[in-house]
Amino acid sequence: MDDAERRADFTAYVRAREQALARLAYLLTGERDAAEDLLQNALAKVYRHWDRVRAAELPDAYVRRIMVNENNSRWRGLLRRHETPSSHVLEVLDPPGVAGLDPTASIDLWRHVQNLPRQQRSAVVLRYYEDLTEAQTADVLGCSVGTVKSHTSRAISALRTSMSEATA
């Protein structure tokens, strides 16, 4: 595969998956600029290794893992901290609200999710948004199933506590 074909192939993959990946990036980071940076840096790494990633049986799983690893590397972005983009690739509109869910409670819950430690938040996002199994989540996070259980259980417990304190 020459460079032009590689670029076209990668571009086709990104176009097909970009909305889902953007949403995952936003959930992992909690804000537009950080999500944009995470997404671009992760996809840059995917592009670097595209020949191997595309050959994988489940390329999405690789991409997810790269995004989570990237997000957990807290120094990501330091190198680009001096250059702020003026043209964005992501747009984040206010959530429209979900029938049956109190908007205030939803916003509170979202805020508490963002305050979770990164590993716990990653586990929650992968389990509850991406609908991954514990084993799949463990694979993405690079940890054991037991650790996923622990992260998830602690996160839910913390969210319960935070929500009950907020409504008390």
């Binding site: 990104v14 790269i66 190198l79 979202w110 509850y128």
Partner: protein, 444 residues
């Protein structure tokens, strides 16, 4: 599913509904990859343990370099090797005898003897380092306007008044003469270029295969990736990483062999090859030395590099700390490094989580003394060194970020007082962080 589970699912789903991709994400990712490659400079970042946090197939992940290899015999006695950075909490340099008595310096982040002080205003000085901007090569008082599109990426001087330019994105090369007209073979040459210091020949690396050309672009010899013997067990030969050219000394090309942690010296004139122990990061032709990564100790976050004499195998010194070396000065008297890199462990950062060193660190090769450091304003980035080269006149030519994000070219002696060589110039695509810098400094 509990009530909390349900609410959590709904909240997460709800908060992603307003997320939309509104730009060309693939294009921006490819641009960022190019930008990352510029920073990482291939083997340097890899050897520093800054491998990407990427999931790769098992066969490959198992082959990441460890740098484990026997240390060459060093001096019989420990030698003091000052960093030149007085440290308030410890000795200014940590010189510790090692089992092989290699002079060892720890880069602990203490202030350097001199700090880069960028200038502003109009050009007041010149540089001995050729550079390319706006389709024109500037070589001291000579300007060569490139006929045609030109290439933005790398620039190198070749013998016979020729110049080699390699496009960063396409890896296609452009060979021009002293009038800026294209020369060489009719077919485009593709690959990452490594050029002999005297410009007598150059090597293009394409998919692990090295091809040597003379200064007119005539093919001299080829070292095929299939001869590398560097494909990990269980991985198809078609995926062999092949050779990674690091530098040239005389007629000998030094190249790493995939991820084997070994290198090869390929003499283009005799076509002979000989193995070289360990991976290499940088090679200097003037002094016949190389920067070699050292295996990281188990449980340690600190990376170490050694300066080694390639002829005798003697290790001149070892420097440990969060620095990635990027190039030698032309005469080999200094090494240029950056302290700004991704993936550093917390122990390798300042307590406030800032980098220990700035984007430019100048290290004297005789004793590993850090003689000059440059970093920009932490908040705005103004004054940040972007790219740099050091000629034989002991002055560093630095592309510097200005207050508005534009780049100027400045020349800075070792006392840090810079003078403007070329005025501020806008980047290509200035609205994204990865926009190309306008100035390209010559590799030789």
């Amino acid at each position: 599913m509990s009530d909390m589970d349900q609410r959590l699912k709904q909240a997460l789903s709800e908060h992603t509904e307003g997320v939309r991709v509104v730009g060309d994400l693939a294009d921006r990712a490819i641009t960022r990859d190019r930008s990352n490659r510029r920073r990482e400079l291939g083997g340097a970042a890899l050897a520093a343990g800054l491998v990407l946090a990427i999931a790769v197939p098992v066969g490959w992940s198992a082959m990441r370099p460890t740098g484990e290899r026997p240390l060459p015999v060093g001096p019989t006695q420990s030698t003091t090797a000052p960093t030149g950075r007085p440290s308030p909490t410890s000795s200014r340099a940590t010189t510790a005898p090692t089992p092989t008595a290699i002079p060892t310096v720890t880069a602990d982040g203490a202030p350097a003897a001199a700090t880069l002080r960028p200038a502003t205003g109009d050009p007041t000085d010149g540089t001995t380092v050729p550079y390319y901007v706006d389709r024109t090569i500037h070589d001291r008082s000579t300007q060569i306007h490139i006929q045609g599109k030109g290439q933005k990426g790398t620039l190198a001087r070749l013998a016979g008044g020729h110049w080699l330019m390699t496009g960063e994105q396409t890896m296609s090369t452009l060979l021009v003469d002293s009038t800026g007209a294209g020369v060489g073979p009719g077919v485009p040459l593709v690959g990452t270029a490594t050029v002999a210091d005297d410009g007598s020949f150059f090597v293009l690396q394409d998919r692990g295969t090295l091809r040597a050309y003379d200064s007119s672009g005539t093919l001299v010899d080829t070292l095929s990736a299939t001869t590398c013997d560097c494909t990990p067990e269980g991985v198809s030969d078609t995926e062999s990483p092949g050779y990674d050219a690091i530098g040239i000394i005389g007629s000998v090309v030094y190249a790493n062999r995939g991820f084997t942690g070994k290198s090869v010296a390929w003499d283009v004139s005799s076509r002979a090859r000989r193995p070289v122990d360990g991976p290499l990061e940088l090679v200097n032709a003037a002094r016949g030395t190389a920067v070699v990564p050292v295996a990281q100790k188990a449980g340690s976050d600190q990376s170490c590099k050694e300066l080694r004499d390639l002829t005798s195998g003697r290790t001149i010194w070892r420097l440990c700390g969060p620095l990635v070396f990027r190039s030698f000065s032309t005469n080999g008297d200094y090494l240029l490094a950056t302290g700004e890199m991704d993936g550093l462990a917390e122990s390798q950062l300042n307590p406030d989580r800032t980098f220990r060193y700035g984007g430019l660190v100048v290290v004297r090769t005789s004793d590993a003394t850090i003689v000059l450091e440059g970093s920009g304003d932490v908040t705005t980035g103004a004054g940040s060194p972007v790219s740099y080269r050091m000629g034989s006149d002991d002055r560093v030519t630095v592309q510097i970020r200005g207050v508005t994000g534009k780049r100027s070219l400045q020349v800075c002696p070792l006392d840090g007082r810079c003078a403007v060589v070329a005025p501020e110039h806008e980047r290509d695509n200035p609205d994204i962080p990865e926009g190309d810098d306008p100035y390209f400094l010559a590799d030789n």
